[in-house]
């Protein structure tokens, strides 16, 4: 039995006009995202994977096609609805963490918590990412991996139904990267949300329920992983 669909993209495309050149970043694409799955989108740079992520995260609008989240159309939503969508439904993890330098780890998490009605307790989330003892440190006092874990905590505190991660290990070393992946893997295992990871690192595909491969702005193939492996067992 297939799990219910959380998000679906129907004939979505995105064209950027850069000066006099039209760049077709995403060709007509159709994709369903299931509730509770861990989806990895793989592809080299320029393959359209980031564009896809931006569209799903509601920070960009498609040039054509429709996007539905939990059955409701996102494409016709206004500025205010889009803000609310990002606020309530989506958690974002960036490649370069993008923490607020003037806030401590706990405060960075609290900043996101203040946006929603029923956030998780800040300390609980920090504990989950293993950083409770560093809660009062500023980003400049944390390592890259620690910063990324704070960023994940910041995303998780809102209890989003969709967690979008853009190259979450891209700036991290091997060991640290695997620790971060473990966190994302655990979220899926606990069934606390849908996780989408965008990366060029093919090895990461092994931990996913499904892998979407992108090439030149369109989906090349989708494979279902019958036996996802925990991050400890992958290598790159």
């Amino acid at each position: 039995m297939t799990p219910p669909i959380l998000m679906s993209l129907k004939n979505v495309s995105k064209t950027y006009i850069m000066g006099e050149v039209k760049v077709e970043a995403l060709k007509t694409t159709t994709l369903d995202v299931y509730e509770g799955e861990l989806l990895v989108i793989l592809g080299p740079s320029g393959s359209g994977k980031s564009t896809l992520l931006n569209l799903m995260g509601g920070i960009d609008q498609p040039s054509a096609g429709e996007i539905f989240f939990a059955g409701k159309p996102l494409t016709s939503a206004g500025e205010k609805e889009m803000t609310n969508y990002r606020r309530r439904e989506v958690g974002f993890v960036f490649q370069f963490y993008n923490l607020i330098p003037d806030l401590t780890a706990a405060e960075n998490v609290a900043l996101a918590a203040e946006l929603v009605h029923k956030p998780r307790p800040v300390n609980e989330v920090l504990e989950e990412v293993g950083l409770l003892d560093r809660r009062d440190h500023f980003p400049s006092q944390l390592s890259g991996g620690e910063q990324q874990r704070v960023a994940i905590a910041r995303a998780l505190v809102k209890q989003p139904r969709l967690l979008l991660c853009d190259e979450p290990t891209g700036a991290l070393d091997f060991e640290t990267g695997k620790r971060v992946l473990r966190l994302l893997y655990d979220i899926r295992q606990k069934g606390s949300g849908t996780v989408i990871i965008v990366t060029h690192n093919t090895a990461i595909g092994a931990i996913a329920d499904r892998v979407v491969r992108m090439r030149s702005g369109s989906i090349a193939d989708i494979t279902i992983n019958q036996n996802p492996v925990p991050p400890e067992r992958i290598d790159w």
Binding site: S50, G57, R86, R87, F92, D102, L103, L111
Partner: protein, 791 residues
């Protein structure tokens, strides 16, 4: 054009608003500098030239009556170059409907060549040698205009107890009537009711009954002459003729008023523009500093390519120089325009025949040099950090800005109650201390300027309140041509309109203490009187003493005496013999204007050896301004003038209308400054945190919430600036008022609570606009940018 120059121009066009805001500040500085300095130099040159060419007296002596021959004796005194003797007397002018004005009839010996206080003909014709018919007179231009006169009109005056008809043949001015005021007690000229009547000496002597005699000597002293010695010698010569008063040029009313304006202008033209330049420099410093931080990578690349630090510094300094250059050009254009406007305003106030207009090249050049030097220095200073940038390091991404705990966090209660966005804003502010300080200082100065602009209105209002409402509670003050018995007047009480009548006896005296002497007007009023109350400049009520003198503080200071001391008082009324009495100083008074020295009516009478005599009476009517009463008063030949505070107040307020323009210009300039400062700071904050804000947008912050973050940050600095700026403005007002206070006027820096409120409100409005202009940019936040790789 080199590529580096092109890069500079691109930097400017990409941050267009910021460049414009900076140019604006420099422009305002140059504009103020040029307009004030030009106005100052024009006015002071006109003054100097007029004084020089028309031989403005160094000293003036007044006597009861002296033969003309005394002049040659005075001219024989070593140190005296020239002395002119003349008759001068204030006489009633009978206008239409029997209304009165006062004319200061002044005789001029003909021919005028070489005389002291010579006349300059402005319009009409010169005195005829042997006039047929009426006597031709010249009047001052303000009186001429205010009374709608044309050449050939006749002017009826009362002189020597009879009506005389004069013919106005034109207008003229002399250095002593640049600012024609009847006396120090008048707040402003009232040209409808006071004018200078200039007449050939012989005719003046005829109609005033001074054949071959004079009552005034004006003296031109040799440069470097021992003034005190010369004056003592002249006073000795004049002693037998009843030497009433003598005063130097600096105490001459018209001169003092003009000089006070010049002094104020000089103070302002020196300091005010400088502050604008410094603020512009400080903000440029911060902007260029930031520019270099954000352009670390391109700087690193340029260095790697082989550009020297010096070339790159030159490039960034070029930004500052360009700001200064463009600002200077615009400032010159507007400054010259404004200088012309100011000169026009001065021409209305002061009768200066040759107001030197036009452009003062040295002022223009100086303004350019100052703005370029200050701007260049800021640029060099800010871009010196370029030297420390190493190419390899610059090309690596920068570590995250280091967040720090701040002292504020020790205040746990407060800190715990702040939400994350407040914490973020406060820490960010405290991280950028220099910018924080510069912004706060900028806002402080901006608020100071606002207060400064607004408070002149309060000062005027206070003055009006004090003198027209609190002090003078009568409806009319009626002066007599000579002292009369009070009992001869009291029948006015029976007039149905008269509610109350009170006597006044004004006694001009010379007060001697040790070897020092000062002329003073003692106002004798009833101790229990209700129509004339005494309030000092601080609004404190003073009691008129039964015995002794409540003395003007500045006179007391000049005499070096204090309450409790006894002084010798000599009457100088000009009628009857001089009388001397010793009186005790019982108190000091600091009036805002006028004599401010009071004695009881009884003491005044005793001083003159009289009893129950008045020189004037005050009337309180059922309703103010009753034409009927006025008409009755004017019919009496013994009445020399009828003054109404209401009318005086109206004239004063009308006169002060020009202040409104001044206030508006100042508020506008201050506002533009505040707006530019806040715009720049907000924009910088925004630009620096663009990536941060983009990620917040992705996290789900709405545009309004992002704008709120920025508002908090600049808002804290703005509010702090306002809080410090309000008392700082008051302090600035105090300094300014102290610097322009003269013997004639002294004014407290009165600032009503309302003004603080308005200033704060205006400040918030301008700050809000500046912020809003910058915050508009938050609409341009590109969320995708947050996900992109860092440079």
């Amino acid at each position: 054009m080199t590529t580096l120059t092109r890069k500079l121009l691109r930097t400017i066009t990409s941050g267009w608003g910021q460049f414009v805001a900076l140019v604006l500040i420099v422009m305002l500085g140059v504009m103020i500098y040029i307009s004030m300095n030009t106005a100052y130099s024009n006015l002071s040159q006109s003054q100097e030239r007029f004084y020089q060419e028309y031989r403005f007296a160094d000293y003036t002596f007044t006597v009861v009556k002296a033969p003309e021959s005394v002049i040659s004796r005075i001219e024989a005194v070593p140190g005296v170059i020239k002395a002119t003797g003349r008759v001068q007397k204030d006489i009633p002018i009978v206008k239409a409907e029997d209304e009165r004005a006062t004319g200061r009839l002044t005789g001029y010996p003909l021919p005028q060549e070489g005389e002291v206080n010579r006349l300059h003909l402005l319009s009409g014709s010169w005195f005829e040698e042997s006039p047929a018919g009426n006597i031709g007179v010249l009047v001052d231009p303000q009186f001429f205009v205010a009374n709608h006169l044309t050449a050939g009109d006749s002017l009826e005056v009362i002189a020597g107890g009879k009506k005389v008809v004069l013919t106005v043949i034109g207008t003229a001015v002399s250095p002593e009537f640049v600012y024609p005021m009847p006396d120090a007690a008048a707040l402003v000229p009232e040209p409808e009711r006071f004018g200078i009547i200039m007449i050939p000496q012989i005719q003046a002597q005829q109609i005033l009954g001074y054949p071959g005699q004079i009552n005034q000597v004006v003296v031109d002293l040799a440069p470097g002459a021992d003034e005190t010695a010369v004056v003592r010698e002249i006073e000795r010569i004049l002693e037998p003729y009843g030497n009433l008063a003598s005063y130097p040029r600096r105490d001459q009313l018209s001169h003092a008023a003009l000089q006070a304006e010049l002094d104020g202008l000089k103070t302002m033209s020196g300091s005010l523009p400088l502050v604008f330049f410094l603020i512009a420099a400080a903000i440029q410093f911060v902007i260029i500093n930031r520019l270099i931080k954000t352009q670390r990578l391109p700087i690193g690349v340029m260095k790697a390519l082989g550009y020297s630090s010096f070339q790159i510094i030159g490039n960034y300094t070029g930004y500052a120089l360009l700001v200064s250059g463009v600002g200077a050009v615009l400032g010159i254009i507007t400054g010259i325009g404004m200088a012309a406007g100011m000169s026009q305003v001065y021409a209305q106030f002061f009768n200066l025949p040759s107001t030197i207009g036009g452009i003062n090249l040295s002022v223009v050049i100086r303004s350019v040099v100052i703005s370029l030097v200050v701007g260049g220095a800021a640029g060099l200073f800010a871009s010196r950090s370029v030297v420390r940038i190493r190419p390899a390091e610059a090309m690596r991404p920068e570590p995250p800005a280091s967040g720090k705990h701040t002292l504020l966090e020790n205040w746990t209660w407060l800190w715990q109650h702040l939400d994350s966005s407040w914490k973020m804003s406060l820490r960010s502010i405290l991280r950028n201390r220099v910018r924080f300080a510069i912004t706060v200082l900028g806002v402080v100065f901006f608020v100071c300027l606002l207060i400064f602009a607004l408070f002149s209105n309060d000062a005027v209002d206070y003055l009006v309140q004090q003198s027209f409402t609190l002090s003078n509670r009568y409806d009319y003050i009626v002066r007599f041509t000579q002292p009369v018995k009070y009992e001869d007047i009291t029948y006015w009480n029976r007039w149905s309109e008269v509610q109350k009548i009170e006597p006044l006896l004004e006694v001009p005296v010379k007060i001697k203490a040790g070897d020092r002497a000062e002329d003073e007007l003692l106002v004798g009023a009833q101790v229990t009187g209700e129509l004339r109350k005494v309030y000092d400049m601080h609004g404190q009520q003073k009691q008129i003493p039964e015995e002794g003198i409540l003395l003007n503080k500045s006179t007391a200071d000049k005499l070096g005496i204090k309450p409790g001391d006894e002084v010798e008082v000599h009457t100088t009324l000009g009628i009857g013999p001089t009388r001397t009495e010793r009186l005790r100083i019982v108190g000091l008074n600091q009036p805002m204007s006028g004599s401010g020295s009071f004695i009881s009516w009884e003491t005044a009478n005793r001083l003159l050896g009289e009893s129950r005599v008045v020189s004037a009476v005050m009337l309180k009517l059922d309703r103010p301004e009753m034409k009927e009463v006025e008409k009755r008063l004017y019919e009496m030949t013994s009445v020399s003038s009828v003054m109404s505070p209401q009318r005086e107040q109206a004239a004063f307020l009308q006169y002060m209308d020009t202040i409104i323009v001044f206030i508006a210009i100042m508020v506008l300039m201050a506002g533009l400054l505040g707006l530019a400062i806040v715009y720049n700071t907000s924009l910088m904050t925004f630009q620096e945190r663009q990536r941060e804000l983009a990620s917040l947008r992705v996290l789900g912050f709405s545009r309004r919430e992002i704008a709120g973050l920025l508002r908090k940050e600049t808002g804290v600095q703005a509010v702090l600036g306002i809080i410090i700026g309000l008392p700082a403005g008051k302090a600035m007002g105090n300094v300014l008022m102290a610097s322009i206070s003269t013997d004639l006027y002294s004014m407290p820096a009165v600032i009503y609570p309302r003004t603080y409120f308005i200033a704060a409100l205006l400040a918030l409005v301008f700050i809000g606009i500046g912020q809003q202009l910058a915050i508009r940019k938050t609409g341009q936040i590109d969320m995708v940018e947050a996900l992109k790789n860092r440079d």
